[in-house]
């Protein structure tokens, strides 16, 4: 067995028992990247030298005694998490040469615990997309079937974890960008409650929706990474002062006493038959484990895509105003006036999807349209939030599909942005409501493509999701699966 095949918890035991060194584990992952990344295309940059130095430092710490849970464990990072001294591109030409002078809080936390960072992975430009195909540098393939999308926007994170190029990854989720690629690539992805994890040093897309979370090969690893990255941070005023539980305590067999809500609106027209079948089976597994199931209603689900694309685009148009060629990033060198420099820089630096969202957002916020679009969307957001609050009066968590279909072929929605937006319908609401959501492997399509199960819970109830996911994993035995590459 190659050590890159180990889960984080297995590697932890091997490292602590001195059966394996972090240098061996890290070298094994680097070798794996060399052998499969020509097919998978997850990585934008591999920081081999730094990774080996971090591994050696971890080995020295381990030799001295008890270490943090993530010490010596190799990770990949979505390329919108700022890494001191290492280029952070956000998948965009406009940040092609941006070298952050500081680490994001989550990166700082990983480093403090002695984790190893292998490099930065692909994503849709500025995290705007569902396939990672708008990444300017490399487009990840679905490790289960190259030619199919890895999902997005954290497609590089999901593909690198599924292809066993790393043991875990950090991604970000604004409308499903952790859960959807996790589902399409057959790994576990958790979007924590808004405010659970600091966003300091995350390149902002839509600040009221963005949240950082782990992509891992099994549920236990997800809980371990959550332990390592959660918590209030004075540098992110929206991070929340809440006690952080030991998330691994939630991982116990049995669902007795828990009520699982089944939202009828998530099983409507457009849901692929195989996906529906996999979710049905998961519901039965939870019943078998002792859970009670109840039907719930989230009546405003059909409006969430419209709300999301107005609010996310409005926030993006404001956040992305900073890319003007003055302080960092790409600058068009030919412009003679300041205004021309702004316009040329932004026009040449941003891709089509980013421009489209900036235009929608600018329009929705512009004089005369603000009430009709932005304000209206924010009001409907309240109705969506109320739906969840009402649903959680009769259940402890909600089970559903993650996406209406398994992964699709590359290039399938190239000329129809709205069709692609609509594929996010089952994940967007969690961001609008700020609640946690998790995707855990549930089965495969007849084409051999993974199908995930989505679990959503009330604010700060990640533990309930991890417990249910753990029980599903016991039933499906789909933890830590690797495709033939």
């Amino acid at each position: 067995m190659n050590s890159y095949e180990l889960t984080i918890s297995q590697a932890r035991t091997a490292l602590d028992n001195k059966e394996l060194s972090s240098r061996e584990l890290t070298s094994s992952c680097l070798e794996r990247i060399r052998s499969v990344d020509d097919t998978v295309h997850s990585f934008i940059s591999v920081t081999e030298k730094e990774a080996l130095q971090q591994a050696d430092a971890a080995d020295r710490e381990i030799a001295q005694g008890t270490v943090a849970q993530l010490c010596g464990i190799p990770f990949s990072l979505k390329d919108l998490l700022c890494t001191r001294g290492v280029t952070t591109t956000c998948g965009s030409k406009i940040l092609e040469n941006f070298v952050p002078p500081y680490d994001a809080t989550v990166v700082e936390k990983l480093k403090e615990q002695g984790a190893v960072i292998l490099g930065k992975v692909a994503m849709d430009e500025f995290a705007m997309g569902s396939t990672s195909e708008t990444c300017v540098f490399t487009i990840p393939e679905n490790p289960w079937n190259p030619g199919f999308v890895a999902g997005g926007s954290s497609g590089g994170s999901a593909a690198s974890v599924a292809a066993m190029e790393c043991l875990g990854s950090l991604g970000s989720d604004t409308g499903g960008s952790i859960r959807q690629p996790a589902s399409l690539c057959g790994v576990v992805g958790l979007k924590p409650t808004y405010g659970r994890v600091s966003r300091y040093g995350l390149v902002a897309f839509a600040s009221s929706l963005d949240q950082i979370g782990p992509l891992t090969r099994d549920v236990t690893d997800s809980a371990m990474v959550m332990n390592g990255i959660s918590g209030y941070d004075k540098r992110d005023s929206t991070s929340v002062k809440q006690d952080i539980p030991d998330f691994t305590n939630a991982l116990s067999e049995g669902m007795k006493g828990l009520r699982v809500g089944i939202p009828r609106e998530y099983f409507g027209a457009g849901l692929d038959g195989e996906v529906a079948g996999v979710v049905e089976r998961a519901i039965q597994l939870l019943r078998d484990a002792g859970a009670e199931t109840v039907e719930v209603s989230l009546p405003h689900t059909e409006y969430c895509v419209a709300v999301y694309y107005l609010i996310a685009s409005a926030e993006a148009s404001s956040n992305l105003a900073r890319y003007d060629g003055v302080v960092y990033g790409y600058r068009d060198q030919n412009a003679e006036s300041l205004i021309d420099m702004y316009r040329e820089t932004r026009s040449n630096g941003f891709g089509d999807e980013v421009k489209r969202r900036i235009l929608i957002g600018t329009y929705a916020l512009s004089s005369g349209y603000y009430d009709a679009y932005y304000k209206k969307a924010s009001q409907v957001r309240t109705l969506i939030l109320n739906d969840f609050q009402k649903a959680y009066e009769s259940c402890d968590l909600i089970i559903s599909p993650v996406t209406p279909t398994p992964a699709w072929r590359r290039g399938a929605h190239a000329d129809d942005p709205l069709a692609l937006y609509l594929s996010d319908i089952l994940t967007i609401s969690a961001n609008l409501a700020g609640i946690p959501g998790l995707s855990v492997p549930g089965g495969f399509s007849s084409d051999g493509l993974p199908i995930g199960i989505q679990l959503q819970g009330p604010h700060f109830q990640e533990e309930v999701l991890l417990k249910a996911a753990y029980n599903l994993e016991l039933g499906t035995e789909l933890g830590n699966r690797c495709p033939e590459i």
Binding site: V327, D340, Y363, V380, T382, P417
Partner: protein, 94 residues
């Protein structure tokens, strides 16, 4: 039509984006499709519904105004497309 080509041109100016003729054509059609879809929200009566800008209420995050170390000038300028050692340099404004 929900949005005209002229309006797209105006919004592009507000957003400091240049658009070629071909881009303007395409973006007008795509934005029109998206805005027509978004019209769906008008099916809902929202008079009196408070807008949500933040998923759960948090109070203002105040902190003491304390002196802290800031980014050294050299590091702050390290990513600048053009600088003169102490400031960012941009094309002439006036």
């Amino acid at each position: 039509m929900k949005i005209s080509r002229k309006e797209v041109e105006h919004v592009a100016t507000l957003a400091r984006l240049n658009m070629s003729e071909e881009e303007l054509e395409r973006m007008t059609v795509q934005l029109d499709t998206i805005l027509s879809y978004v019209d769906k929200l008008n099916e809902l009566e929202t008079t009196g519904v408070a807008p949500t800008t933040h998923a759960f209420s948090i109070n203002n995050a105040f902190r003491e105004d304390e002196m802290q170390e800031s980014l050294p000038v050299k590091e702050a300028l390290a990513n600048a497309p053009k600088e003169n050692g102490e400031a960012f340099v941009v094309p002439k404004i006036i």
